[in-house]
C-alpha cells in the first residue's frame, strides 16, 4: 500500500540513499534495519513526508504522492513514532495526544470527547495515566508509550515505529509487540525500525536491510533469518581497506603494579553497575553497546563529568581521578567527541587559537602571558605533523572540512601531552581518507604509552583500532572481546543480545550479563 521507489537523497556531498525501493503491505510488520548511517532514518523521514527526496516516487494505494508533506501524510493515515521524543513537556497528557486536531465543540477544545477517545488507546498499551498530568513529570518509558498512543489516536493505516523500544523495559516491549500484532491483524501496515534484532525477529514478518544507502536485503521473510544472518547483511563483506587492523594482542591480565587506567567497582545509578576494568598504558580499549547500555556512561565517568555513586577511577600515575571535567583534564585526561562543533572547536577562531586552547589557555602552561606568535609557531608544527590541510594557521576552523576540524581537536590535546585519551565516536561524519589518518595518529599515541578508551557507532572501527572491546549490556560488561574473537560481527551480536558468544571468553562468571529478554 505505501510504496517508495528509487528514492535518492544526499546531504551536501554525502549520499544517504542511493536509489532505495521499499514497500509496506497491509497487515504486515516490515522491519527496516541497518547500521548507523545506513540510511534508515532518512528513508523514514521520506516516507512520512518530513524530507523531500532528490529523486524517486512515493505511492499510496497505487496513487503517487506529490509534494508529500507531514500534514498530508497524517491526513492520509501515515503516522510516525520517532526516535527523538516529540512531546510537549509543558502540556498535559491529553493535550499531547491530540496536537493540532483536538476535537472541538463550539470552537472550544472538547476535553471530554478527547478523553473518551484516548482512554481505550491508553488501556490497550497498558498505560494507566492521569490525563491532566504534565508530560514532563512522566518517566521516559511512559513518554515513549504516550508517543505511540498519540500515533494510534489518529487511526493510522500505516504506522512507522522508529526505535520504539529504546526506553522501554521488557514488559512494556512485550505489551507493545502485542499491540503491533493486533494492529497488523486490523490491516494496518507497520514499518518497524530497531537496533534490537531479537525484538525484530519476535514481531516482524519481513525484513529489509539497508547498507550504505542501498538495499542489501529486500523484503525477506523474517522466518528465514537469524540475528547472525542479519548482522552479516548489515555489515556486508567489505571491510574498509583503510582499516589496517592492528595486531590485536590477546588481552592479558593486568598486574596490580603496572601503570593503567583502572575502573574499580564503578557504579552510576542503574546506568553502570560495579564495572571493573583496567587498561594498561599504550593499550586501546573499545567500549560498545546499544544506546543506554552504559558504555558512554563509562566515558563520562572517566572524563570526570559524572561522579560515580560507588567505586573509583585510578589514573595511570596511580592518582585517583579528581572531581569534575577540569580536574580530569589537569590530571592528563583528554576528551575527543564526535560532536566536534559542540565540544571540540571554536568555529569562528583561527586554527592556532584552537590548538592553544587546552595547554596555554585552559591549563595556563605558558605562564601569565600568552604569546600569539608562539602559539602560531607550535600550531604550524601540529598542522605539519597531523597533516591538517589549510593554507595557514590563521584560517578559521569553520572553513575546514570535518576531518581537518577533528584533527585540530586532536592537535589541541596532543599539545597538552595527555596520559589518557577518551574518544567518543571520534570519526563521526569524516570521510574515509581522514579516518585512516586519524587511526594512524591514535597508533602513534599508543606507542607513546597513552591509554585510549574508544566508543564508536561503527563496530568495524572498534574491531580495527582496539586491542580489546568491552561490550556493555544493561550497565554491565557482558563480554570482553580480543584477539581472534574481536570482529565487528561479534561486537554487534553481543551488544544486541547481551550474551557472550560461545566461542568467546565472556566475563559472565564474574559479572553476569543482563538477562536476555
Amino acid at each position: 500500500m505505501l510504496e517508495a521507489q528509487g528514492i535518492r537523497k544526499s546531504y551536501g556531498g554525502i549520499t544517504a540513499l542511493a536509489g532505495v525501493d521499499f514497500a509496506v503491505r497491509t497487515g504486515t510488520v516490515h522491519a527496516l534495519l541497518g547500521e548507523n548511517g545506513a540510511g534508515k532514518s532518512t528513508l523514514v523521514k521520506v516516507l512520512v513526508g518530513a524530507l523531500a527526496p532528490d529523486a524517486g516516487a512515493l505511492r499510496l494505494d497505487g496513487r503517487e504522492l506529490r509534494a508529500h508533506t507531514t500534514a498530508e501524510a497524517v491526513d492520509r493515515g501515515i503516522a510516525v513514532v520517532s526516535q527523538e521524543l516529540n512531546l510537549f513537556p509543558d502540556l498535559d497528557v491529553l493535550a499531547n495526544l491530540f496536537p493540532m486536531r483536538e476535537p472541538r465543540r463550539a470552537g472550544l477544545v472538547a476535553r471530554r470527547a478527547m478523553a473518551g477517545r484516548a482512554r481505550p488507546v491508553l488501556d490497550e498499551l497498558g498505560l494507566d495515566l492521569d490525563l491532566d498530568q504534565p508530560v514532563e513529570q512522566l518517566p521516559l518509558d511512559q513518554r515513549q508509550l504516550l508517543e505511540i498512543a498519540r500515533a494510534l489516536c489518529t487511526d493510522p493505516r500505516v504506522l512507522v515505529l522508529d526505535e520504539p523500544t529504546s526506553a522501554l523495559h521488557a514488559e512494556a516491549v512485550d505489551r507493545l509487540h502485542e499491540v503491533v500484532r493486533r494492529l497488523s491483524r486490523r490491516d494496518v501496515g507497520i514499518v518497524y525500525v530497531s537496533h534490537h534484532l531479537e525484538d525484530v525477529l519476535a514481531v516482524c514478518d519481513t525484513v529489509t536491510v539497508l547498507r550504505d544507502g542501498e538495499v542489501a536485503v529486500s523484503a525477506v521473510p523474517a522466518a528465514t533469518l537469524t540475528v547472525d544472518r542479519i548482522v552479516a547483511h548489515m555489515l556486508g563483506d567489505k571491510v574498509a581497506a583503510v582499516m589496517a587492523a592492528r595486531s590485536n594482542e590477546v588481552a592479558t591480565t593486568v598486574e596490580p603494579g603496572t601503570p593503567a587506567l583502572r575502573f574499580e567497582q564503578v557504579t552510576v545509578g542503574t546506568e553502570l553497575q560495579e564495572v571493573d576494568l583496567a587498561i594498561p598504558a599504550g593499550r586501546v580499549l573499545g567500549v560498545a553497546g546499544v544506546d543506554g547500555a552504559g558504555h558512554r556512561t563509562l566515558l563520562s565517568v572517566a572524563a570526570g563529568v559524572l561522579r560515580p555513586d560507588a567505586g573509583r577511577v585510578v589514573l595511570p600515575d596511580g592518582a585517583p581521578l579528581g572531581r569534575g571535567l577540569r580536574a580530569a583534564i589537569q590530571q592528563g585526561v583528554a576528551v575527543v567527541s564526535g560532536d566536534r562543533k559542540r565540544f571540540g572547536v571554536m568555529l569562528d577562531k583561527p586554527i592556532w587559537d584552537n590548538i592553544g586552547q587546552v595547554s596555554a589557555v585552559g591549563l595556563r602552561r605558558d605562564g601569565m602571558v600568552v604569546r600569539a606568535g608562539r602559539l602560531r609557531e607550535r600550531a604550524r608544527a601540529h598542522v605539519g605533523s597531523l597533516g591538517i590541510k589549510t593554507p595557514s594557521v590563521d584560517q578559521e576552523v569553520g572553513m575546514l572540512s570535518g576531518g581537518n576540524q577533528q584533527k585540530v581537536v586532536f592537535a589541541k590535546w596532543f599539545e597538552s601531552s595527555p596520559a589518557v585519551l577518551l574518544l567518543d565516536d571520534p570519526t563521526r561524519g569524516i570521510d574515509v581518507g581522514a579516518k585512516a589518518e586519524i587511526y594512524n595518529l591514535l597508533q602513534e599515541q599508543s606507542r607513546r604509552g597513552v591509554v585510549q578508551v574508544v566508543a564508536s557507532s561503527d563496530p568495524r572501527e572498534l574491531a580495527a583500532i582496539c586491542d580489546e572491546v568491552a561490550v556493555f549490556y544493561d550497565g554491565r560488561v557482558c563480554a570482553r572481546l580480543s584477539g581472534e574473537r574481536l570482529d565487528a560481527h561479534t561486537i554487534l551480536e553481543v551488544m544486541n543480545t547481551g550474551r557472550a558468544p560461545e566461542h568467546a571468553v565472556g566475563v559472565a562468571g564474574e559479572h553476569p550479563g543482563g538477562a536476555p529478554r
Partner: protein, 327 residues
C-alpha cells in the same frame, strides 16, 4: 608601513574610529571652536566614566554575559567613597576601599548567576535596582560631600597631564591595560573562548564559572574606579548620578565593535564608542538641536552604528559561505 596599515585596517574598532574622526571633523568644519584642544579634552573627560564602564562590559559581552548594574555600582561606590571620607578616612584609602566595594558588588552579581542559576541579564536587572536603592537609602536622597577640594586626592584627579584631565587619562590607561589583558593573558583568551563556544571551553579545561566570576568582579571594580573618579572630580556624590549609564555603556561597547554574540571584543573600541557618544552629545549642542531631542539622536546613532556593523558582518559571512569549506 604596509604591515602597520594592515594592522589598523584589520581591527574591529576601525569603524568607530573612522566615525568618530569624521564626526569631529564635520562639526569642526562648521564650528572651528569645537576643534580647540580644551574642547576635545573636555569631551574625552566627560566620556571617561561611561568609557571605563564600557571596557568592563566588553569583557562580559565577549563571554555572552551582561551587567546592567554598572550604572548603579558607579553611583553606590561614589557614595561609599564620599561617606568614608565623611567618617574621617584618608581620601586615597577611601577611594581604594570604594573600588574594592565595586569588586564586591560585582562578586554578588557573579554569585547570583553562579549559585542561584539566574541568567546574568535577570540577576543584574535586580541588582541594578537594589544597588541604586541602596544608594538612595544610604544618602537619604541628597548629595553627600566628598573630599575637600584642596585635598591631594581632589587636586590630583582634577589636574591635567599634557592638557588631558586625569579622568580622561585614566580611560586611556585602563583601555591600554585591559587590551593587553584581553589579548595576551590566559584570562583574556579564556573569556573569548567561552564566548565563542562555552561547551568546548569547558571541554578544554577552562574553569568557566571562575572566569565568569573574575569578569564580573573586574566589571564591578571598574564601576568603582569610575565612581571614585567622579567623586574626585566633582567633589560630591549625587544618588541619581549614573542613571541610564548601563545602556550607554553597552551601546558604547557594541558601537566599538564588540559582538553581542560573544567570542570577540575590543576594549579600545568600547572606549572610542563612549567618546563617539560624547561627541554626538556635544555636537548636538553646537548645532543647537533642542536638548529634548538628545535622547532620540543618541538612539539613532546607536542604531546606525549597530546596523552598519551587522551589515558588514553579514557581507563577511556571505563571502565566507561562498568560499565554502575547503580541504
Amino acid at each position: 608601513m604596509q604591515r602597520a596599515g594592515r594592522l589598523v585596517l584589520g581591527q574591529d574598532f576601525l569603524g568607530v574610529l573612522v566615525a568618530t574622526v569624521a564626526l569631529v571633523l564635520l562639526i569642526g568644519a562648521n564650528y572651528p571652536r569645537f576643534l580647540q584642544p580644551d574642547q576635545l579634552a573636555s569631551i574625552l573627560n566627560n566620556a571617561a566614566y561611561i568609557g571605563i564602564l564600557a571596557c568592563g562590559l566588553a569583557f562580559l559581552l565577549a563571554m555572552r554575559e551582561l551587567d546592567l548594574s554598572v550604572g548603579s555600582v558607579y553611583a553606590l561606590t561614589a557614595l561609599a567613597c564620599a561617606m568614608l571620607v565623611q567618617e574621617g578616612l584618608d581620601p586615597w584609602l577611601a577611594a581604594l576601599l570604594a573600588i574594592v566595594v565595586g569588586g564586591v558588588l560585582g562578586l554578588v552579581n557573579a554569585l547570583l548567576i553562579q549559585y542561584v542559576g539566574l541568567p546574568s541579564i535577570v540577576a543584574t536587572l535586580a541588582t541594578l535596582a537594589m544597588y541604586r536603592g541602596l544608594t538612595l537609602a544610604l544618602s537619604e536622597g541628597t548629595q553627600v560631600v566628598g573630599p575637600p577640594i584642596d585635598s591631594s586626592f581632589s587636586q590630583v584627579i582634577s589636574a591635567d597631564v599634557l592638557g588631558i584631565p586625569v579622568p580622561g587619562l585614566t580611560l586611556i590607561v585602563v583601555a591600554a591595560v585591559l587590551t593587553v589583558v584581553l589579548r595576551a593573558t590566559p584570562f583574556g583568551y579564556r573569556v573569548r573562548s567561552i564566548g565563542s563556544n562555552p561547551e568546548a571551553a569547558a571541554f578544554s579545561g577552562i574553569p568557566v564559572g571562575r572566569v565568569r566570576t573574575q569578569a564580573f568582579v573586574l566589571t564591578g571594580a571598574l564601576g568603582g574606579l569610575a565612581g571614585v573618579l567622579t567623586i574626585g572630580y566633582l567633589g560630591a556624590a549625587d544618588p541619581n548620578t549614573g542613571t541610564g549609564y548601563e545602556l550607554q555603556a553597552i551601546a558604547a561597547a557594541v558601537i566599538g565593535g564588540t559582538s553581542l554574540a560573544g567570542g570577540r571584543a575590543t576594549i579600545v573600541g568600547a572606549a572610542l564608542g563612549a567618546v563617539l557618544l560624547g561627541v554626538v552629545a556635544s555636537g548636538l549642542a553646537y548645532f543647537s538641536v533642542p536638548i529634548n531631542w538628545n535622547q532620540f539622536a543618541l538612539g539613532a546613532v546607536i542604531l546606525g552604528a549597530v546596523s552598519l556593523d551587522s551589515f558588514v558582518r553579514r557581507r563577511r559571512r556571505r563571502a565566507r559561505a561562498a568560499a565554502g569549506p575547503r580541504l
